[in-house]
């Protein structure tokens, strides 16, 4: 059974159809890439899945449950985590604090218990700290643990954001352009991490990506979009040689 399913998903901003009746399924354990030219609606789909936008039409379901109308702050608790295209970290906090915020959806102690620092709050803290340390070890962030995020190089911040998403212990991870702003070497490392996340942690990944080398390296299936519409869906090789996709990227006539 599909882990995530979108049926006839659409969102309109005024007259603009940012996403226009797109349907797709993501199976458990795969890396699913979304490609397309600028303005194709890739990030909009992420914003729909993480419920920052409300779809105009269509339904989304995750592990068999309808998530079309669930409030945004409950999405992380269900097991969907995301990163952002332009890094939305908490810049004035340390790396460790950012990771601990990622653990927020597992807080059990009530606000009152936290204000009084009751034993339940202490247990929460210790559990979160252990989880954060696991992620630090997994992503090799030890030397940045107490550094303030605002002063870190872009590539490291990108990894920290990935770590923060992992701290929510997701089943489904949404990566919005994991390679943007990274050099070739860093992009390659990012690719290895995505493979590790899939194989070692068993997390399903949906990623928006422009770098076709990375897409070929890690993804099992690719979906190509243009103007909010689905162009092609299949293996990386199939999609890359699909005439509609080539036309969307390069332009020109395609024999009918």
């Amino acid at each position: 059974m599909a882990l995530f399913r979108a049926e006839g998903l659409a969102v309109h901003f005024g007259g603009i159809r940012a996403v226009d009746e797109v349907s797709f399924e993501v199976d458990e354990g795969e890396v699913f890439a979304i490609i397309g030219p600028n303005g194709a609606g890739k990030t909009t789909i992420f914003n729909l899945i993480s419920r920052l936008y409300t779809p105009t039409m269509g339904r989304m379901s995750f592990r068999g449950h309808d998530i079309t109308a669930i409030p945004a702050h409950r999405i992380a608790g269900l097991g969907i985590a995301r990163t952002f295209q332009n890094i939305e970290l908490f810049a004035k906090a340390t790396v460790l604090q950012n990771l601990l915020i990622g653990c927020h959806c597992h807080v059990r102690a009530s606000i009152a218990a936290q204000i009084l620092f009751a034993p339940s709050a202490r247990r929460d803290e210790l559990a979160h700290r252990e989880k954060a340390e696991d992620v630090i070890a997994f992503l090799d962030l030890q030397r940045y643990r107490d550094a303030h995020v605002g002063g870190l190089p872009y590539g490291v911040r990108k990894v920290v954001e990935l770590g923060r998403a992992l701290c929510t212990e997701p089943k489904l991870l949404l990566l919005d352009e994991p390679s943007s702003g990274l050099n070739m070497e860093e992009t390659e490392v990012m690719g290895f991490w995505i493979e590790d996340i899939k194989k070692d942690l068993g997390i399903t990944v949906i990623m928006v990506e422009h770098d076709m080398n990375l897409v070929r390296q890690v993804s099992d299936r690719v979906m190509a979009l243009n103007y909010g519409r689905l162009l092609a869906l299949g293996t990386p090789a199939e999609v890359q040689s699909h005439p509609e996709v080539i036309r969307a990227y390069i332009g020109g006539e395609v024999p009918a």
């Binding site: 993480s50 920052l52 409030p71 945004a72 702050h73 409950r74 999405i75 992380a76 608790g77 985590a81 995301r82 952002f84 939305e88 970290l89 908490f90 810049a91 004035k92 906090a93 340390t94 604090q97 601990l100 915020i101 990622g102 653990c103 927020h104 959806c105 807080v107 102690a109 606000i111 936290q114 204000i115 009084l116 620092f117 709050a121 202490r122 929460d124 803290e125 210790l126 979160h128 700290r129 252990e130 340390e133 107490d146 550094a147 303030h148 605002g150 002063g151 923060r164 929510t168």
Partner: protein
Amino acid sequence: MRTLFKTDYRQDLTIWRHRGDLFWYGLLLLIVLALPHLLGVFYIGELGAVFIYAIAGVGLMLLTGYTGLVNLGHAAFLGIGAYTNAVLLTAGWPYLLTLPASALLAAIAGVAIGIPTLRMSGLYLAIATLAFGEIVSNVLEKWDSVTHGFNGLPVPIPEIFGYPIAGATAVYYVALAMLILTLWIAANILRTPFGRALMAIRDSEVSARSMGINVALYKTVAFGVSAAMAGLAGALFAQYVNYLAPNSFDVLLSVQFLTIVFVGGVGSLQGVIFGALFVRLLPQAISIFRDDLPGNIGHLPGLDPSLFGLILVLTILFQPTGIYGGWLSLKAWFQDFPLHRAGGFRRQRSYAKSERV
């Protein structure tokens, strides 16, 4: 320079970073407890007022410094707390009930202003809270049957376990106890997910939401907790002044609380204490130098408020980390002497907005 070697996650959960901290804060507590035997009544009264301002300042620090919500109506919560305390004491309630009741009523008012302003931030929130402050101030003036309007409201002298809370020394000790309680609560908030959620909302609301933080809930609770602390401060303030007038809780007082937060150092609880000392001592300093100023500058109306405004602006421009931030840089300079250089190998503590206590 002290290097901390941590061997247990529990070491990160303590309020004190190490035993040295515990020693110095313990010493400070002993000194503060002994002060009434060493200083005159006037100074004890002033220090009591510093504690009361600091309690309200901690509340505003949580809201403005950590959650990033500017509040120009903080004095209104103080007023609500003060009048609640006075009215309930007059009705014969015991002091140990009127204090929490004042905090509670102020918290309810805080939630009431927090919910409609959920989508506001920055300048718009400042204007909305300013308006709220004016409304409360007007209600206190016009609601004769309860507040006695401009005739003022005498505050009865309460008792704790048969001991009357009257005079500077008694108010000083009660305010000190309440300040310690407030600081403990604030420190707890800052070391738990609640506090981190507030900082997350301040830094990036979108990603806070994606991390599972219920932004609306936390903003509202932040308003409530902040207002509760101001209400508690107000209840003590009523004891401090003995006689309540509605115009004590105006926008100038709110600006003074903002000054505490910014001059003391945004994002640090220690900064609140420095800020409160500064704000309470500045008018005294002005009155000392008033007569030495050339011409009649010293007697111009509005000298105090303009000075507060000027200092607030200059601090935000030139020393954004406030007094506490300045102290940390100075400490770092001496610890690294003679190797210190700006932006050197040390972790930049001066930018540690989200630092725990």
